[in-house]
Amino acid sequence: MSNTRISVSVQAEPFDAGPLMAQLRAAGAGGIANFTGIVRGGNGLSALEIEHHPRMTQAALEQIARDAATRWPLLALTIVHRFGRLDLAAPIVFVGASAVHRAAALDAVAFTIDRLKTAAPFWKREHFTDGKSAWVAPRPADHASAARWD
Protein backbone atom coordinates (compact mmCIF):
# COMPACT_ATOMS: atom_id res chain seq x y z
CA MET A 1 0.00 0.00 0.00
CA SER A 2 1.04 3.51 -0.70
CA ASN A 3 1.62 5.73 2.32
CA THR A 4 1.00 8.92 0.39
CA ARG A 5 -1.02 11.47 2.30
CA ILE A 6 -3.72 12.34 -0.22
CA SER A 7 -5.83 15.47 0.08
CA VAL A 8 -8.59 16.29 -2.43
CA SER A 9 -10.96 19.23 -2.35
CA VAL A 10 -13.70 20.22 -4.79
CA GLN A 11 -14.85 23.68 -3.87
CA ALA A 12 -16.43 26.89 -5.08
CA GLU A 13 -14.21 29.04 -2.85
CA PRO A 14 -10.89 30.47 -4.01
CA PHE A 15 -7.72 28.98 -2.57
CA ASP A 16 -4.32 30.30 -1.69
CA ALA A 17 -1.38 28.22 -2.92
CA GLY A 18 0.90 29.28 -0.05
CA PRO A 19 -0.84 27.36 2.76
CA LEU A 20 -1.42 24.41 0.41
CA MET A 21 2.31 24.26 -0.20
CA ALA A 22 3.02 24.52 3.51
CA GLN A 23 0.80 21.48 4.09
CA LEU A 24 2.86 19.56 1.55
CA ARG A 25 6.08 20.04 3.51
CA ALA A 26 5.90 16.53 4.88
CA ALA A 27 8.67 15.33 7.13
CA GLY A 28 11.43 13.77 5.08
CA ALA A 29 10.52 15.48 1.83
CA GLY A 30 13.33 16.69 -0.39
CA GLY A 31 11.11 18.60 -2.73
CA ILE A 32 7.66 19.98 -3.37
CA ALA A 33 6.37 20.54 -6.88
CA ASN A 34 3.10 22.17 -7.71
CA PHE A 35 1.04 23.67 -10.45
CA THR A 36 -1.68 26.28 -10.22
CA GLY A 37 -4.01 26.80 -13.15
CA ILE A 38 -5.50 30.28 -13.39
CA VAL A 39 -8.17 31.87 -15.57
CA ARG A 40 -6.33 33.27 -18.55
CA GLY A 41 -7.57 36.55 -19.95
CA GLY A 42 -7.56 37.59 -23.58
CA ASN A 43 -9.84 37.00 -26.57
CA GLY A 44 -12.61 38.99 -24.89
CA LEU A 45 -13.01 36.54 -22.04
CA SER A 46 -14.82 37.99 -19.04
CA ALA A 47 -15.28 34.94 -16.82
CA LEU A 48 -15.03 31.17 -16.71
CA GLU A 49 -17.80 28.93 -15.46
CA ILE A 50 -17.09 25.38 -14.39
CA GLU A 51 -19.81 22.78 -14.14
CA HIS A 52 -19.14 19.43 -12.54
CA HIS A 53 -20.85 16.19 -11.56
CA PRO A 54 -21.25 16.69 -7.81
CA ARG A 55 -21.47 13.03 -6.88
CA MET A 56 -18.56 11.90 -9.06
CA THR A 57 -15.93 14.61 -8.90
CA GLN A 58 -14.39 13.91 -5.53
CA ALA A 59 -14.08 10.20 -6.27
CA ALA A 60 -12.58 10.89 -9.72
CA LEU A 61 -9.94 13.17 -8.25
CA GLU A 62 -9.15 10.69 -5.48
CA GLN A 63 -8.70 7.98 -8.09
CA ILE A 64 -6.30 10.14 -10.08
CA ALA A 65 -4.38 10.90 -6.89
CA ARG A 66 -4.16 7.20 -6.01
CA ASP A 67 -2.94 6.43 -9.54
CA ALA A 68 -0.19 9.02 -9.13
CA ALA A 69 0.74 7.65 -5.70
CA THR A 70 1.02 4.17 -7.20
CA ARG A 71 3.35 5.36 -9.95
CA TRP A 72 5.70 7.50 -7.87
CA PRO A 73 6.92 7.33 -4.27
CA LEU A 74 5.14 10.40 -2.94
CA LEU A 75 4.90 11.61 0.62
CA ALA A 76 1.87 13.79 -0.04
CA LEU A 77 -0.35 14.74 -2.95
CA THR A 78 -2.90 17.55 -2.91
CA ILE A 79 -5.55 18.36 -5.50
CA VAL A 80 -7.88 21.33 -5.23
CA HIS A 81 -10.33 22.02 -8.06
CA ARG A 82 -12.91 24.77 -8.11
CA PHE A 83 -16.32 24.94 -9.76
CA GLY A 84 -18.78 27.76 -10.38
CA ARG A 85 -18.11 31.17 -11.83
CA LEU A 86 -14.46 32.28 -11.80
CA ASP A 87 -13.16 35.74 -12.59
CA LEU A 88 -10.15 36.49 -14.75
CA ALA A 89 -6.86 35.64 -13.01
CA ALA A 90 -8.67 33.55 -10.42
CA PRO A 91 -7.11 30.22 -9.47
CA ILE A 92 -8.89 27.17 -10.95
CA VAL A 93 -6.88 24.20 -9.88
CA PHE A 94 -3.93 23.34 -7.64
CA VAL A 95 -1.90 20.15 -7.85
CA GLY A 96 1.02 19.68 -5.48
CA ALA A 97 3.24 16.75 -4.58
CA SER A 98 6.05 16.23 -2.13
CA ALA A 99 8.60 13.46 -2.45
CA VAL A 100 12.08 12.49 -1.36
CA HIS A 101 13.41 13.14 -4.87
CA ARG A 102 12.42 15.97 -7.16
CA ALA A 103 11.70 13.89 -10.28
CA ALA A 104 8.90 12.01 -8.54
CA ALA A 105 7.29 15.23 -7.34
CA LEU A 106 7.57 16.96 -10.71
CA ASP A 107 6.37 13.97 -12.74
CA ALA A 108 3.47 13.30 -10.39
CA VAL A 109 2.26 16.89 -10.76
CA ALA A 110 2.50 16.74 -14.56
CA PHE A 111 0.67 13.40 -14.62
CA THR A 112 -2.07 14.57 -12.28
CA ILE A 113 -2.80 17.79 -14.13
CA ASP A 114 -2.83 15.93 -17.45
CA ARG A 115 -5.21 13.33 -16.09
CA LEU A 116 -7.67 15.71 -14.54
CA LYS A 117 -8.00 17.59 -17.82
CA THR A 118 -9.51 14.48 -19.42
CA ALA A 119 -10.66 12.17 -16.62
CA ALA A 120 -12.47 14.29 -14.04
CA PRO A 121 -16.08 15.36 -14.66
CA PHE A 122 -15.60 19.10 -15.10
CA TRP A 123 -16.79 21.18 -18.02
CA LYS A 124 -15.70 24.72 -18.70
CA ARG A 125 -17.85 27.42 -20.23
CA GLU A 126 -16.34 30.71 -21.36
CA HIS A 127 -18.22 33.97 -20.92
CA PHE A 128 -17.19 36.90 -23.09
CA THR A 129 -17.43 40.64 -22.70
CA ASP A 130 -19.86 40.83 -25.64
CA GLY A 131 -22.33 38.71 -23.67
CA LYS A 132 -21.78 35.51 -25.60
CA SER A 133 -20.68 32.27 -24.03
CA ALA A 134 -19.52 28.89 -25.26
CA TRP A 135 -18.53 25.52 -23.87
CA VAL A 136 -14.82 24.84 -24.12
CA ALA A 137 -14.11 22.12 -26.65
CA PRO A 138 -11.83 19.29 -25.57
CA ARG A 139 -8.30 19.97 -26.83
CA PRO A 140 -6.59 17.18 -28.78
CA ALA A 141 -3.33 18.32 -27.14
CA ASP A 142 -4.81 17.59 -23.71
CA HIS A 143 -5.73 14.09 -24.79
CA ALA A 144 -2.26 13.58 -26.24
CA SER A 145 -0.71 14.78 -22.97
CA ALA A 146 -2.88 12.42 -20.94
CA ALA A 147 -2.14 9.51 -23.27
CA ARG A 148 1.63 9.80 -22.83
CA TRP A 149 1.25 8.31 -19.34
CA ASP A 150 -0.68 5.23 -20.55
Binding site: H81, D114, T118, P121
Partner: protein, 87 residues
Protein backbone atom coordinates in the same frame (compact mmCIF):
# COMPACT_ATOMS: atom_id res chain seq x y z
CA UNK B 1 -42.33 -8.97 -14.65
CA UNK B 2 -42.71 -5.58 -16.31
CA UNK B 3 -41.19 -4.92 -19.71
CA UNK B 4 -40.21 -1.43 -18.52
CA UNK B 5 -38.14 -0.25 -15.59
CA UNK B 6 -37.75 3.18 -14.00
CA UNK B 7 -34.39 4.88 -14.41
CA UNK B 8 -33.11 8.41 -13.88
CA UNK B 9 -31.16 10.02 -16.69
CA UNK B 10 -28.96 13.05 -15.92
CA UNK B 11 -27.49 15.45 -18.45
CA UNK B 12 -24.47 17.66 -17.95
CA UNK B 13 -22.95 20.73 -19.61
CA UNK B 14 -23.87 21.12 -23.28
CA UNK B 15 -26.04 18.00 -23.15
CA UNK B 16 -28.07 19.54 -20.34
CA UNK B 17 -28.60 22.65 -22.42
CA UNK B 18 -29.39 20.75 -25.59
CA UNK B 19 -31.92 18.54 -23.83
CA UNK B 20 -33.41 21.48 -21.96
CA UNK B 21 -33.31 19.69 -18.61
CA UNK B 22 -30.74 18.44 -16.12
CA UNK B 23 -32.48 15.13 -15.45
CA UNK B 24 -35.56 13.09 -16.24
CA UNK B 25 -37.13 9.92 -14.88
CA UNK B 26 -38.04 7.54 -17.66
CA UNK B 27 -39.63 4.12 -18.03
CA UNK B 28 -36.98 2.29 -20.01
CA UNK B 29 -37.88 -0.82 -22.02
CA UNK B 30 -36.07 -3.75 -20.42
CA UNK B 31 -34.80 -4.65 -23.88
CA UNK B 32 -32.57 -1.57 -23.56
CA UNK B 33 -30.03 -3.49 -21.53
CA UNK B 34 -26.77 -1.56 -21.83
CA UNK B 35 -25.46 1.98 -21.48
CA UNK B 36 -24.85 2.19 -25.21
CA UNK B 37 -28.37 0.96 -25.97
CA UNK B 38 -29.77 3.67 -23.71
CA UNK B 39 -27.95 6.34 -25.72
CA UNK B 40 -29.30 4.81 -28.93
CA UNK B 41 -32.81 4.74 -27.40
CA UNK B 42 -32.53 8.46 -26.61
CA UNK B 43 -31.36 9.19 -30.15
CA UNK B 44 -34.40 7.41 -31.54
CA UNK B 45 -36.85 8.81 -29.02
CA UNK B 46 -37.01 12.38 -30.31
CA UNK B 47 -35.30 15.03 -32.36
CA UNK B 48 -33.49 16.55 -29.37
CA UNK B 49 -31.95 13.21 -28.48
CA UNK B 50 -31.00 12.58 -32.09
CA UNK B 51 -29.32 15.96 -32.42
CA UNK B 52 -27.57 15.81 -29.05
CA UNK B 53 -25.80 12.51 -28.68
CA UNK B 54 -22.96 11.36 -30.87
CA UNK B 55 -20.00 9.05 -30.42
CA UNK B 56 -18.31 11.47 -28.07
CA UNK B 57 -20.86 10.91 -25.28
CA UNK B 58 -19.46 9.70 -21.97
CA UNK B 59 -21.64 7.54 -19.78
CA UNK B 60 -21.70 6.91 -16.04
CA UNK B 61 -23.95 4.23 -14.57
CA UNK B 62 -24.76 4.81 -10.91
CA UNK B 63 -21.90 7.35 -10.74
CA UNK B 64 -19.28 5.00 -12.15
CA UNK B 65 -17.75 5.52 -15.59
CA UNK B 66 -19.19 2.96 -17.99
CA UNK B 67 -18.63 1.59 -21.47
CA UNK B 68 -21.21 1.12 -24.21
CA UNK B 69 -21.62 -2.50 -23.19
CA UNK B 70 -21.97 -1.84 -19.45
CA UNK B 71 -25.15 -3.53 -18.23
CA UNK B 72 -28.03 -1.52 -16.82
CA UNK B 73 -29.14 -4.42 -14.62
CA UNK B 74 -30.11 -2.98 -11.26
CA UNK B 75 -29.02 0.52 -12.27
CA UNK B 76 -30.96 3.45 -10.88
CA UNK B 77 -29.24 6.32 -12.71
CA UNK B 78 -27.33 7.02 -15.87
CA UNK B 79 -25.41 10.26 -16.44
CA UNK B 80 -24.55 11.43 -19.93
CA UNK B 81 -21.90 14.05 -20.50
CA UNK B 82 -19.54 15.41 -23.14
CA UNK B 83 -15.76 14.96 -23.00
CA UNK B 84 -14.34 16.53 -19.85
CA UNK B 85 -12.51 19.84 -19.95
CA UNK B 86 -11.34 20.40 -16.39
CA UNK B 87 -7.97 21.38 -15.03
Amino acid sequence: MSDHRPIRIEYFAKFREAMGRSAEDVALPTAVGSAGMLVEWLRERDEAGHATFDDSVLIAVDDVMAQADTSLDGATSVALFPPMTGG
